[in-house]
């Protein structure tokens, strides 16, 4: 395969990967943050201890985290069909990707929020802050660098997962690697895809780290 064929192929596949990963990451970040905040608030000793809610959600998150992505991909096919009308292609892949990322984000957010010093939370409470104010004005802003870092880690994982989704017809760089590299023995294409993934991951990591340090005032 020549460069002028390979280039558009890789470029197209990279865009597909981003199309799968970015919306999934954004939705997962929002839902995962909400879930993580609920975990922090309801855990014993939290601002709103709710043992039953906490234990239930904690178990759900643990199960979600321990399911291998490839299994999740298959398990979620009915849900994916329901939401996107199909179970094949980049758009369809966003459903399992989002679902895989939510518990991951929830764990990271829960950890980040619990790392906010208790004294600061106490100061806010003594100023009369409501629970919602404590979350939105104190916990989340104070945890921002850790949250940005967590988002980066999640994005990198999702790029990896998306390659797996690609392998079963999701499109993107993983799909190219399988179709050309594995099925047609075009080792060059395989290597090029791997390099493209590497560059993508590096770029995301670099950007995320940079934003996290730039905005951290500690």
């Amino acid at each position: 395969m020549t460069w002028d064929v390979l280039w558009p192929l890789l470029w197209q596949a990279t865009l597909e990967t981003l199309w799968m990963v970015l919306p999934s990451a954004l939705i997962a970040q929002i839902l995962g943050t909400a879930l993580g905040a609920v975990l922090t608030l309801t855990r014993p000793g939290g601002l709103r201890p709710q043992a039953v809610v906490y234990r239930g959600l904690d178990a759900v998150v643990n199960v979600g985290r321990s399911l291998p992505f490839i299994i999740l991909l298959v398990l979620l096919i009915p849900l994916t069909r329901l939401i996107t009308g199909t179970s094949i292609g980049s758009t369809a892949a966003t459903v399992p990707l989002t679902m895989a990322a939510i518990p991951f984000v929830a764990r990271l957010v829960d950890g980040a929020l619990r790392d906010v010093p208790g004294g600061v939370v106490e100061a806010a409470r003594a100023m009369g802050a409501s629970t919602a104010q404590t979350v939105f004005k104190v916990l989340l802003p104070e945890a921002r660098p850790a949250l940005v870092h967590g988002f980066t880690v999640m994005l990198v994982s999702l790029i990896g997962y998306s390659a797996m989704a690609g392998a079963i017809g999701g499109g993107g760089l993983g799909d190219v690697a399988i179709r050309y590299g594995y099925q047609r023995f075009e080792t060059g294409v395989m290597i090029a895809t791997v390099l493209a993934l590497l560059v993508l991951v590096q770029a995301v990591q670099w950007l995320g780290d940079r934003i996290a340090t730039r905005t951290d005032h500690r």
Partner: protein, 331 residues
Amino acid sequence: MSTAPPPPALEFSRVTKTYPGQPQAALQDLTLRIPRGSRTGIIGRSGAGKSTLVRLISGLETPDLGHIQVQGQPLTPATLKQLQARTGLVFQHFNLLAQRSVLHNVTLPLELRGTPKVLRERRARELLQLVGLEALAGRYPAQLSGGQKQRVGIARALVTDPDLLLADEATSALDPETSAGLLTLLTELQRERDLTLILVTHQLEVIRAATTHVAVLDQGRLVEAGETASVLRQPQSAVTRALLDAHRPEHPLLAGETLHHLTLPDLGAATLDRLARQRARIVRAEAHALGVDVWLTAPDHVPAAELGRTGLGGTGLSGIETPRLIPEVSA
């Protein structure tokens, strides 16, 4: 017609608080009135219940028994928000928000109350000026010294214009000079703004330097309360006397000198510690009572370090003999 006197700034009536799972109450049957416009010190050893007192006033904990009145109003879930607005809190470890600028740390209490941005920033700048930090409004807490951080803490506590200011060990994390500067600032602010200031501390110097009234806590109980001058002059409880002893400046005992007609509290714990290090011997009171000016020999001589165990500390002594040959070791 006579008008009723204004209510005390703060009144605890038979308040008991036990933390879950703790065998002992953190505060036990506490009754205490803190006069309006006073600078009241709360002193006691570690674990005495001082911080618990502050947490109850600021609504971070609720009492198991008894009630609390702030400015004549009972502290209940219904009045909590309103009373919290009238109470400012200053913390030992400042508790500033690391990701907010100095200015926005000070605006936070107003932001939580929904004060418009322009108003709250103007007000925060006024307070930063009051504590001498207007030039540092744009910095972040990590870029400040400990003393500066605490000034931000004070500005933040006062931004809602409270009439009660609570400071829990506000100067304990700072060096003596910075600490003295902050106490002066707090005292001035209390006078100018007609605040009631509550200074929680385990340091007697803080009580001496900055308070008009003092309450002494021990193991969750109030052991003594009154005007600072009279409590310090005539402590009524053993706990207060022990606190005074521990903070008495060292007696300038010279090597080779012999002192007569001293009581142990005259000397204080610091001096006794030094005497113990120097292996000083004290002479029993009975010997002196006989009028004999002869120092007894061992075993009647008791090393200063043993005083507490022999019970001599309570009965007084006739003299202390410091050894001639051991030079003063400077710390």
